[in-house]
């Protein structure tokens, strides 16, 4: 898979999430379901790698990039992870001015709550995948 495409797909996922693991549902849809670039099992391994390391949990996108496109994909994954953080600079001045607006806070709250619901679905999918793998090994 092309590194530029990996970057754009992962960027779509990271730009539309508000927590490290919040990008997981979008990544699963783009990389597993729509493009079949990686399998559910590989996505689970990426999440495991991300959870087993120091630093931000969102680093699992580096593993997704690697599994989809090798080392160049890993670099694309790292870039997709850090790019949204740069938006903090303009937001720093905007939020100092508008953070008191209840509607703006409410919109972000809605996104965070919906991210949590989507994460539950992703977590359950991971657990089912792991149980199926263990069942196949026992068979």
């Amino acid at each position: 898979m092309n590194a530029a495409l990996i970057y754009l797909l992962l960027l779509k996922a990271t730009m539309t999430s508000f927590a490290g693991m919040g990008s997981l549902p979008q990544i699963r849809q783009d990389f597993v379901q729509t493009r079949a670039a990686i399998t559910d099992q590989q996505l689970s391994q990426a999440v495991l790698a991300g959870r087993a390391t120091i630093g931000p949990m969102g680093a699992y996108v580096v593993a997704v990039g690697y599994l989809a496109g090798g080392w160049s994909g890993a670099i694309a994954g790292w870039l997709a992870m850090i790019t949204p953080a740069l938006l903090a600079i303009p937001l720093l001045s905007i939020i100092r001015r508008w953070h008191h607006l209840p509607r703006l806070r409410a919109a972000v709250d809605g996104v965070v709550i919906a991210s949590a619901v989507l994460l539950v679905g992703s977590g359950v999918t991971l657990a089912i995948d792991a149980i199926q793998q263990l069942s196949r090994l026992n068979a």
Binding site: K12, T16, S17, F18, A19, M21, G22, S23, Q26, Q45, V47, L48, A49, G50, R51, A52, T53, I54, G55, P56, M57, G58, A59, V62, A63, A74, W78, M81, I82, P84, A85, L87, A88, I89, L91, L92, I95, H99, R103, A106, D109, G110, V111, I113, A114, S115, A116, V117, L118, G121, S122, G123, L126, A127, I128, D129, A130, I131, L134, L137
Partner: protein, 195 residues
């Protein structure tokens, strides 16, 4: 430390760390736990407040910025921190130092997982690890939603959860689900919000 006059108007202290001190603090505090970004943020807050570089108001501002910024919360926090005290060099260095070590370890683990996958025992261990990861993902979701379960936000949280589940069942994409959640949450009357 004498109060800075500019702090009264901006809510921000200007006598922060030097670039070297900033780099050392972020490199150490953002990369010494595996508990995720919230732990790192707390460690950074402790370090910066104990040195007199940051007050509670500034920390609150950085927290708000990092919650509003898409992507990984701790990276946005580090960028805010770096930019506030040392401009663009501080922001870029903080972002790099907070993300590269973890990314390298993730890369190494991915390569290792790929190489050991053919072995049955390795597959079994990976499956158990993935099961644990699934549980941790659900736990992450709980940590995200827990702040909204207090009495003032419960109504909003319930409506957004119901809408989200309905959209997921209907087959909506995650982006559309998140946009709908933002819109619905925005439109819910503020009657139950604390002032």
């Amino acid at each position: 430390m004498t109060p800075d006059p500019s702090e009264q108007s901006t809510g921000l202290r200007v006598d922060g760390p030097s670039l070297r001190e900033l780099v050392a603090a972020v490199a150490f505090e953002a990369n010494r736990t595996i508990g995720g970004g919230n732990v790192s943020i707390e460690l950074l807050r402790r370090r910066f407040t104990s040195r007199g570089w940051m007050d509670a108001t500034t920390h609150g501002l950085f927290i708000a910025v990092s919650r509003f910024t898409p992507g990984t919360v701790v990276l946005a926090y580090c960028v805010s921190l770096g930019f506030r005290y040392q401009g663009w060099p501080g922001a870029l260095l903080a972002l790099t130092l907070a993300s590269v070590p973890g990314a390298l370890i993730v890369f190494g683990l991915s390569v290792t997982f790929t190489q050991i996958e053919p072995y049955a025992i390795a597959r079994a261990l990976l499956a158990i690890g993935i099961l644990v990861a699934g549980g941790l993902v659900v736990l992450s979701a709980w940590h995200l939603i827990r702040p909204y379960l207090h009495i003032g936000s419960r109504w909003r949280a319930s409506v957004v959860v119901i809408i989200t589940v309905a959209l997921v069942v209907a087959g909506a994409t995650p982006v559309r689900v998140l946009l709908a959640a933002a819109l619905v949450s925005c439109l819910i009357p503020m009657r139950d919000e604390k002032p």
